[in-house]
Amino acid sequence: MFEFLFNYSSEDYARSELVYASDWPIAVVVALVAISVAGVLVSLFRRRAYAGWLRLAAIGVLQLTMLALVVWVLLQPNLRTERLRAGENTVAFVVDNSASMAYGENGSRLSAAIGVLSTLSDDDNTSQLTLRHYEMSNSALPVLSFAETSPTGATTAIGPSVKSVLLEARVSPLAAVIVASDGADTAGGLSATDIAEIAAFGVPVHTIGVGRAVIAEDIEMTEVSLPAKVLPGSTVAARVSIRHDRQTPAQVKVYDGDDLLAVQDVALNTDAGVSTAWVDVELPTAGHRQLRFSVDAGDDDLEQRNNSRSTLVEVANQSYKVLYYEGEPRWEYKFLRRAMDQDDDIQLASLLRVSQNKFYRQGIESPQQLEAGFPSARDELFAYDALIIGSVEAASLEPAQIELIKEFVSERGGSLLMLAGPSGLGNGGWGQTAVADVLPVSLPPSTRDTFFRKRALAELTPQGGDLQMLRFAESDTDNLKRWSELPEVADYQVTGNLKPAAATLLTAQTDIGRIPLLISQPYGRGHAYVLASGGTWRWQMSMPVEDQSHEVFWRQLIRATVASAPEHVSLSASTDAGESNVHLRAEFRDEAFRPVDGIGVSAVATHADGSTWTVQLQPDTNEPGVYETEFVPDESGTWYFEAIAEREGEPVDVSRASIHFETGQAEHFNIRRNSTLLQQLSEATGGQYLEMNALDGLPDLLRYSSSGITEQEYRPIWDAPAVFLLLFMIKAGEWLLRRRWSTI
């Protein structure tokens, strides 16, 4: 109907610009309008005896509208449309031939995509375009046709592939790129940089989504997250993420080789999405442990290969050092030390000011340790992995020592935990020191007493509930219950406003309301924590001696602080999202944690079967002390890496890492259609995302592309039936009114 009334389709109007073909000067148009208006007004004035002003006004409006429409027609309105010039443009057809395109119900996704593109290439609108064909997986490969195309690509990198198509195809005017894909990118997705670079070509990329977005019969383990290094005897909480499109019970199992370490029932309660579960895994013995996490939801799972993921954990016998600086004998000090006494992996050295001029040292390894008081030298303080500062005023330290504490966190990467107390936090003047920058809160001034010896109830926040260091029980429900049963702490301290990066892990219900109790934030290379109470000791004294909640809390908290502290020599091995190579990153710092220069770094890569490779690491120009390289394993399995730093041919330091590497598995994960990524790509380039059942508009999209060599087409609209119909209706309406009011 629209096209009948207006001569052209609504899409044509949407793509076109309204222009006027008349070359009448504007003065002539204005004069014509003025004469018309004057004539109508004079005519109405002369007939004022026959009708009231309102009726005359109604008739005048109709007459003026008709005259305006006539003037508009005389101006010769046209639709100006950009369209591709026949025979001078190219369109790139890109089909995703990664392994995920092999999935499908009635034929594969790949065959459906090729069918669509073949149909399009036979359309009249594309017959005058030059077509280029590309296969896309981890890169784009030009082909003569899709006749031999098969879903064999090991990974999918849509962004880089489209970029290479645009680069390669622009040798001739490129009108558009049509990408038929399931959008299941396995190379990290589309970054903002990728999108900007693709959009800069100015070529619209139209995407066709292939495959199902919802696959109820597939359960997938998308991610397993747990610390890379733990202490022997630790129980680590592994966070597993499971993608599912139906409600179903499932079971997560954890294996170390053939040994079943843990079984966890998981309820996948929503119909669609990603559910997260925590699985506690006990790792008693030292060594590299390859843990395999698998989810089992029944035999009808579509794709079993995405039900498990493996990861390596290094269970290392390593002793960590913590320094606790306390300004007054108090119960929190006593019970904190008692809680840590049982932890053989943490050496807690404490420096306690017992009287104005006397310090009491405990947990020291030698009589010389801390003999001069709080460390003043960088290498002495940086030998610790974490620092606890209790109820002690900042003025007890020199400004240089306070600055050193800041560097301890920012440069060494250590953790700082500050405890509440009558002379702690804001009361101790720490808010006016360099340490204030490190903390996750903006401490109040020392003129305001913020410490209260009143009891408060600790409560776990959702953020805190996600962390292993605050878990007393395996399940979230049991954990919350244990926290709710804890006695009150003996005191609390108001900490001030939270900083943007702060995470509140515990809150305290006090007589002044709910306040943050345990807050943390990353700072530089390290982390800072504030515990706004010096009274957790009540948990120990108020609960039966068999209860270990107090001990567990402190051990887990302290372990979390030291575990994140880097060593002065470190090596990490990680894979990219496409799992095609391993990124090795080594960092060498001296005892004072200053970057080490003037060294050569090589890494020896050893496969579990004994084969070895040696690669050179190159210095990172942006980060002193950091050396990196990419290593492409030639087979799956466990790889061990040893990075050796040499100066003048002599080894000076060694660091080790390991990784479990599997090739060719990426495409079996994330097999659902990712419409969002495809839409993102289209919208950024001025293209359009289409689904398989709505491709009718695709030929028009090509015909009216704004890229390539185009020509302007002018199409008049003055002769549209709608114009004449409107003229008739206006005049007829005027005539009817005049008859009714007897003005004729």
Binding site: G327, E328, P329, R330, W331, Y333, K334, F335, R337, R338, D341, L352, R353, V354, S355, Q356, K358, Y360, Q362, P422, F452, R453, K454, R455, P487, E488, A490, D491, D511, W537, R538, Q540, M541, S542, M543, P544, V545
Partner: protein, 266 residues
């Protein structure tokens, strides 16, 4: 019974019903029931001196000074003087006044350091012993003082063994941190009661030799400091007596402070 006297009886009975629970709660200290007065009041300091108000044995019933119970010996000046010394000589934030609690009180667990005097006259029932045992094993510290001679020791043991029937009482070694945490207490003398200023004798009954003994936990920490054949509390109480020897007063303070700081660090 007339109507008037019947009304009076009812009123008195009603008052008793209302009053008795309040009295009982005040005496027991109350249980931790959430946001009651004990949770909303502000504690006066990190350390509050707690004196144990125990039940007395048959000897204690015949004893007592001026109508006071045995556990009240030296009260309140002993802790008053001692606390002032703590505040002046250490960084411990001590409350200016002490508290009194029974061995079976649940409130005991809020005060990890407690003091009991004249324990030769104490009697710990089953509940007292169980409560005290739990208190000490959780991390509490008990200092006992001012009991002398053979039969007072026997009376002390009779109750102490109810608390720890399986833990030995041993002499505190010379190198124990309790003797060195702040002050080095290598040279120790018998600290007498103020009667020494009259008699010139430092011992009482047959307690000729002072003994510093203790009970330890499984990790080698001192839980109970037993000061036998001496009177540290009297030395605190009479710190302001010109006749009481200064060196004995000083030593008494040092012992108390060492025990306190030891308890706060171990």
């Amino acid at each position: 019974m007339t109507k008037t006297s019947g009304n009076m009886t009812a009123i008195i009975g009603l008052l008793m019903i209302i009053g008795l629970p309040s009295i009982a709660t005040a005496q027991s200290g109350g249980r931790e029931t959430g946001r009651d007065e004990s949770t909303t009041r502000e504690a006066p300091g990190e350390f509050e001196f707690v004196r144990l108000a125990y039940s007395v044995n048959q000897y204690g019933r015949r004893g007592g000074w001026g109508g006071r119970q045995m556990w009240q010996t030296d009260y309140p000046d002993a802790e008053h003087h001692f606390l002032r010394g703590v505040g002046r000589l250490t960084r411990v934030e001590a409350a200016p006044r002490g508290r009194i609690l029974t061995p079976s009180s649940d409130e005991l667990f809020d005060y990890p350091w407690i003091y009991a005097v004249e324990v030769g006259y104490w009697h710990l029932g089953d509940r007292d012993a169980q409560n005290l045992r739990e208190y000490l094993l959780r991390g509490g510290f008990l200092m006992v003082d001012d009991f002398h001679g053979t039969w007072e020791w026997a009376a002390f043991i009779a109750s102490m063994e109810r608390v720890f029937p399986d833990r030995p009482i041993v002499d505190i070694p010379e190198d124990d941190e309790a003797f060195h945490v702040i002050y080095d207490l290598d040279h120790r003398i018998q600290i007498p009661s103020r009667m020494y200023t009259y008699s010139g004798v430092t011992y009482e009954k047959d307690g000729y030799t002072p003994h510093w003994r203790g009970i330890y936990d499984d990790d080698g920490r001192l839980m109970v400091a037993i000061n036998f054949n001496m009177d540290i509390g009297d030395a605190w109480e009479h710190a302001d007596w010109p006749d009481y020897p200064e060196n004995m007063t000083a030593l008494a303070y040092r012992f108390g402070i060492n025990y306190l700081v030891y308890a706060m660090t171990h």
